[in-house]
């Protein structure tokens, strides 16, 4: 059974592993960006983003091209009637195919993530807080600095560490399940892709933030940590944010008053921090130019009145705990789907 | 060695056809004592026929005392049918020829001759049974 599975799978395996080998070779030959990097060369920048895109795509490709056709290909060609009448039970046939191809999927994603994570290590290490303090990095002060996402941020979390392994396993079994239920390769591929994409989008926003209760920190707003100030046309503050801790994934950034209620900052803050500029009535993301003494006074007054900023976040050091939990969730889902596949193959499909 | 053939349209069951062909060959002296019949597998392969059919035919021949199976060697002819009646064949054929000539002279065509022969043959056969 192992031989047959391998014989049927080797061309698909060669295609994916071949591409992975090419990508790994490119990354290794190009070499890692220097540590302490502040700005990527255009070539490194392309590799950096290519790594992200490919690592996100691989599980989808595995689900669509390895998972979905695994059973439907047999059903469409009628060969299930050949292979299910050898002296091997359907359950064992399915289990062998799931295990072997699943293992190949997991290994491919693991290797890819390993190479990409290794290559991007210096860039991730140079990541700054996701929101940048006023005056530190803004505008003309440090013109060469580039802001990189933290590895715990939604963009990178899914393409670093071990989560790609969980995604690949899940996408693969999802493809097989869709194939068994729909019995048509093309529709199974489409459904796999749609469901997997939906899960990829939903998990960072609906699941991951709540896996471990988020940390909270209430800080005084200072000219050193304020990172964003949005004012609408009538002069009221719409948005005020401070920088979160280094490498953290900031989930909430709210202004609270002395009683702890969530409020918007009083509108005089806007007036004193942002002198009226007729050419830009819509407000600006952050004040530019050197921080004036007046700004600091303004913020001191705000603090004296009891206004604070409450930051909700997942700290950087929870990266591995979150990775482990999310991977475990996806592996458990994969195991559940695999079990359903085995049941269906044994009892329903013919 | 005898080579069997089957006529799918004759209405005679395949096993009977095999039996008749052996008897026929024995009668005409094509098979003699000691000759070996084709193995069941050979007949099966040649005719694409059920082996049970061949076995049944051979069993029937064995039962009639015409052949004997020697396990592991084959089935052999033990008796011929070219018995005393063979000597009578010649004169009978002469008579039949003369009768056919008479029938043709009387204006019967081949079909009528055959019908006349078969009905008479059947009637006498039935009278013999009854």
């Amino acid at each position: 059974m192992i031989w047959l599975t391998w014989r049927q799978f080797r061309a698909q395996a060669a295609a994916v592993y071949g591409l992975l080998a090419v990508l790994a070779a490119i990354l290794v030959i190009a070499g890692r960006p220097l540590s302490g990097v502040v700005r990527l060369t255009p070539a490194d920048s392309r590799l950096y983003y290519a790594g992200i895109v490919v690592t996100y795509l691989l599980p989808a490709v595995i689900g669509v091209f390895w998972g979905a056709p695994l059973v439907t290909r047999e059903l469409e060609a009628g060969t299930h009637r050949l292979v299910w009448n050898q002296s091997v039970t359907r359950a064992r046939w399915m289990a062998t195919k799931l295990a072997l191809t699943g293992l190949a999927a997991v290994a491919a994603a693991g290797l890819l993530s390993l190479v990409v994570t290794w290559w991007a290590g210096p860039v991730d290490a140079a990541s700054q807080p996701s929101t940048v303090p006023v005056g530190a990095d803004i505008g003309t002060d440090v013109p060469d600095a580039e802001s990189f996402a933290a590895r715990i941020s939604p963009l990178l979390f899914g393409v670093r560490g071990i989560t790609p392994v969980g995604y690949a396993a899940f996408a693969f079994v999802l493809g097989v399940t869709a194939g068994i239920l729909l019995r048509r390769t093309v529709s199974a591929m489409a459904v796999t892709l749609a469901v997997f994409a939906a899960v990829q989008i939903a998990v960072p926003f609906a699941v991951r933030p709540y896996v471990i209760p988020a940390a909270q920190q209430t800080v005084t707003i200072t000219s050193a940590n304020i990172s964003k100030l949005g004012v609408n046309s009538s002069g009221e503050v719409e948005e005020l944010a401070v920088a979160g801790p280094r490498g953290a994934w900031v989930l909430g950034n709210e202004t609270v008053d002395a009683t702890g209620r969530v409020v918007t900052a009083p509108s005089w803050v806007a007036a004193c921090l942002l002198p009226p500029m007729p050419s830009e009535p819509q407000g600006r993301a952050s004040p530019s130019g050197p921080v004036a003494e007046a700004d600091q006074e303004c913020l001191t007054k705000l603090a004296d009145l009891g206004y604070r900023q409450r930051v909700t976040y997942q700290p950087a050091d929870r990266f591995w705990a979150l990775q482990g939990t999310e991977t475990a969730i996806f592996l458990a889902l994969s195991a559940l789907l695999a079990w359903l596949c085995l049941r269906w193959i044994r009892n329903r499909v013919s | 060695m005898i080579e069997f053939h089957l006529d799918g349209r004759s209405g005679v069951s395949p096993y009977l056809q095999l039996v008749q062909q052996v008897r026929h060959a024995l009668r005409l002296g094509l098979l003699r004592e000691g000759d070996r019949l084709p193995t069941v597998k050979d007949v099966v392969t040649q005719l694409a026929i059920n082996p049970n059919t061949v076995l049944k035919a051979y069993r029937e021949l064995e039962h009639a005392g015409l052949v004997a199976a020697r396990p592991g060697v084959g089935t052999f002819v033990t008796r011929t049918l070219t018995d005393a009646t063979l000597a009578a064949h010649g004169p009978l054929r002469q008579d039949l020829r003369r009768w056919l000539d008479r029938a043709r002279r009387a204006g019967l065509d081949d079909e009528s001759i055959e019908a006349l022969f078969m009905t008479t043959f059947r009637t006498t056969a039935r009278e013999d049974i009854a």
Partner: protein, 298 residues
């Protein structure tokens, strides 16, 4: 006599209706059984039930003493060559033999290779490039070399030309002669089965109409022709299978174990094909309570 296939009250319902109902069958071991009936009569359903590809809706089916498809030991006992003889298009002939060798404990590798060689199949050829007849032969090779107790073939010769058909049946019969396996094969053409089958099952409209040994069935059926008369006036032990009338003559196919003594009839034998056709064209008269299976008394 041990039954290689035993069905009781077997039924299978699809969404569009019953494909098989109230099927009671005993197919004895050591026979080549022909399963005939018009297209859509439920032949494939019955064979797929026997191979364990389908699960019955009602009743039971037992094949070689076990439940179809119930485990590796059961699967090893039953070979199934499905309709259209599926093979892996991307795999070579040699790959298929390897597949058989790896997946079957009783695999006869020498037999398989001998057959492939005799058939003139190139082991390196991909199955997708084989002709229909060659593919059927490859599938049959897998079925025979598995060395099952029962080999089930679903319309194996339907897509073959006459020569390939003859070769296929020759090889099948050779395997039967050599290994003593039981065979059940279906066809909608009686002519295909006439030579090779010694047991017959006629399936019409999801029900078994006739089952028994070919010789017994032929001996029990007669064609009667004579002056016109109502078939209802026949003796009770003569069951009318088909009747046709002209203004002066009546022709009947009847089933009876007793000799026919009425001198008004001209009695003649019925060929297998005519016999099957008589049952196939019989109006559906199987009402509730009537047992559709007619076993031959022995």
């Amino acid at each position: 006599m041990t039954a290689v296939l035993r069905a009781r009250q077997l039924g299978k319902k699809y969404r569009r209706g019953w494909a098989l109902t109230g099927c009671a069958l005993d197919i004895p071991a050591g026979h080549v059984t022909g399963l005939v009936g018009p297209n859509g009569a439920g032949k494939s359903t019955l064979l797929n039930l026997a191979a364990g590809m389908l699960a019955p809706t009602t009743g039971t089916i037992e094949v070689c003493g076990g439940m179809p498809g119930s485990g590796p030991a059961q699967l090893a006992k039953v070979g199934f060559v499905a309709q259209d003889t599926p093979t892996y298009a991307g795999l070579t002939v040699a790959d298929h033999l390897r597949l058989g060798a790896r997946l079957n404990p009783n695999w006869d590798d020498a037999l398989a290779h001998r057959r492939i060689e005799r058939l003139g199949l190139d082991p390196g050829q991909r199955a997708g490039k084989l002709s229909g007849g060659q593919r059927a032969q490859l599938a049959l090779t897998l079925g025979i070399a598995k060395r099952p107790e029962l080999l089930i073939l679903d319309e194996p010769v339907a897509a073959l030309d006459p020569l390939a058909r003859r070769e296929f049946l020759q090889d099948l019969m050779e395997a039967v002669a050599e290994h003593g396996l039981s065979v059940v094969l279906s066809s909608h053409l009686v002519a295909d089965l006439e030579r090779v089958c010694d047991h017959l099952v006629v399936l019409v409209a999801a029900q078994v109409q006739l089952a028994g040994e070919v010789e017994d069935l032929l001996a029990a059926h007669h064609r009667l022709s004579g002056p016109r008369r109502d078939p209802a006036t026949l003796p009770a032990d003569q069951q009318v299978i088909s009747a046709s009338h002209t203004d002066r003559q009546t022709t009947l196919v009847v089933r009876t174990e007793a000799p026919i003594l009425d001198p008004a009839w001209t009695v003649s034998t019925v060929g297998l094909e005519d016999l099957v056709l008589a049952y196939m064209s019989r109006p559906a008269e199987a009402g509730p309570g009537r047992r559709p299976t007619l076993e031959v008394l022995r």
